[in-house]
Symmetry: C2
Subunit: 306 residues, 2 copies
């Protein structure tokens, strides 16, 4: 059964979708929608647009809203979307979340406010509480986006627990990009009704076996098919097959991760689509240099991708 057929909460393989940019570094709406379609066709259950991989915080709120409208118009199924709506500013997160829900998104993935460091759990709780109250929409399904290597902000388990308790049925899950295996397994174990998505498909099978929902990953932009096969093998009880597929998935991820991931993925997409525009990145991100590009393309077999 495809989880998205049922209108259920997102689960399985979600790509943290890249945002293609034109020469002026504006999101290329057409290429963006085409990439979303491509990922769904390649087996993704869902699409987490406007996350770290999507360079969303390098876009203005208006640019994020315009790109979302373009997806709506293009016919990308909205129930597959789990858009990032995180921002340093409460009012921006509220505005983006409102619009995502109105468009029919399955939920929203929300960063903690990430400008100030060393803030208290009370301050973080109050931020998420204000988001929930101000959005004030029964359709709100909020996923906590934990990526401390970018935000410099810790979403500790006591805070998560407090949010789940305060907003049951609203604070329903997390994407955990910490890479902290112990933490992720603890989340799966201690919060059984909470949807745990791991941020790297390296831990996909282990997360699924521990009761997690799946992964939301950057590299899934190019590994969708294989990641989906791991998921399907697992859910149909083919443990050995799942294990073997996971091993290959982990190798592929490692070859990509040997380089700065977002630029590397854009190089691969440029080659896969034969469209150099894909290499564009908004500063502060920079493209791979010639040597890195060569090395990446020699290490990662394009035929295995997407």
């Amino acid at each position: 059964m495809d989880p998205n057929e049922s209108g259920a909460d997102p689960k399985g393989i979600l790509a943290a979708v890249l945002t293609p940019m034109d020469e002026d570094l504006k999101p290329d709406h057409e290429a963006f929608a085409a990439h979303c379609d491509r990922l769904l066709a390649a087996g993704c259950h869902g699409l987490s647009v406007f996350g770290t991989t999507g360079e969303a915080n390098s876009l203005s709120v208006n640019e994020r809203l315009a790109a979302l409208e373009a997806l709506v118009k293009s016919g990308v199924p909205m129930k597959t979307l789990l858009p990032g709506t995180g921002s340093c500013a409460l009012t921006d997160t509220v505005r983006l979340s409102h619009r995502a829900l109105d468009a029919g998104a399955a939920g929203v993935l929300v960063l903690p406010p990430f400008y100030y460091k060393g803030v208290s759990d009370d301050g973080l709780f109050r931020f998420f509480a204000e988001v929930v109250e101000r959005v004030g929409d029964a359709r709100l399904r909020l996923y906590l986006y934990h990526i401390p290597q970018m935000t410099g902000v810790d979403l500790g388990l006591p805070l998560i627990s407090r949010l789940i308790e305060a907003y049951p049925g609203v604070v329903v899950g997390t994407k955990d990009s910490s890479g902290d295996r112990e933490r992720i397994m603890t989340l799966c174990r201690e919060f059984p009704n909470f949807s745990v998505f791991v941020g790297t498909e390296t831990l996909l099978l282990e997360t699924l076996r521990s009761g997690g929902e799946g992964c939301i990953s950057a590299t899934v932009n190019v590994t969708s098919r294989l990641a989906r096969r791991v998921y399907d093998a697992h859910t149909s009880g083919k443990d050995d097959e799942a294990e073997a597929l996971q091993e290959r998935l982990t190798q592929l991820r490692a070859s990509i991760e040997a380089h700065p991931v977002i630029p590397a993925l854009k190089v691969l997409m440029a080659d896969l689509t034969d469209d150099r525009e894909w290499r564009n990145l908004r500063p502060p991100l920079s493209g791979l240099d010639e040597e890195q590009t060569k090395h990446l393309l020699s290490e990662v077999p394009l035929a295995e991708l997407l």
Copy 2:
């Protein structure tokens, strides 16, 4: 001579202006303008609105623009303003900088893009270069805002040097909130035509003696008079007096800094103006608790403030 009389570049004592918020946590435009007037009357040469202290990154771009318009309308002299226009998104920084220059601001204080960590100097250079090119305004005077404890991004001296060389007369100065004495003195020494503002008035006199321009500081929201007296004593060659005043200024700063600074300053402003609204903070920042508040108010003599 008051530097602002001459229409010269900003120098001296600048407050990193607090943003008063109403019960709904919206900027209170009237109280904001009144505070700007109060700071200028108390001796500030200039006003750095929309920085870290001003909770600017907790405001949407539209909220920052609306608050700037309110200052324009209220008659706060625009040439005294050095507004923060930093953001993670290139397009936001460009939009805010455009508007600040059109309003007549003396310059703009620009953070490096602070979402991504571990980015290259090339990526950071390209960000600032794009800001300069896209703003495309001969009036642009760009000050680099270095506050690595919040941004997690280093503005190294080679990068600063490269920016000064690429954009002479445009990249003209810095606010350095690193608290790194050696770095600040090196900046003063090695970049003689570059305006160095230190982020804490603890180092005010030392910075001035090393050829720096002054300070842009959070605590100046309540220490303007005293900070100005240090500046005036220094510029009129009264070294002993300057030293004694600096000592008292350093003590005052230490008493405030013993607490989270922005909440502490808002407590002091609430007491000084007898307006509890001043205690409001946008999450993720939290107010001081009762005990902290009591301690702060017992340590800092209100009569010495502003």
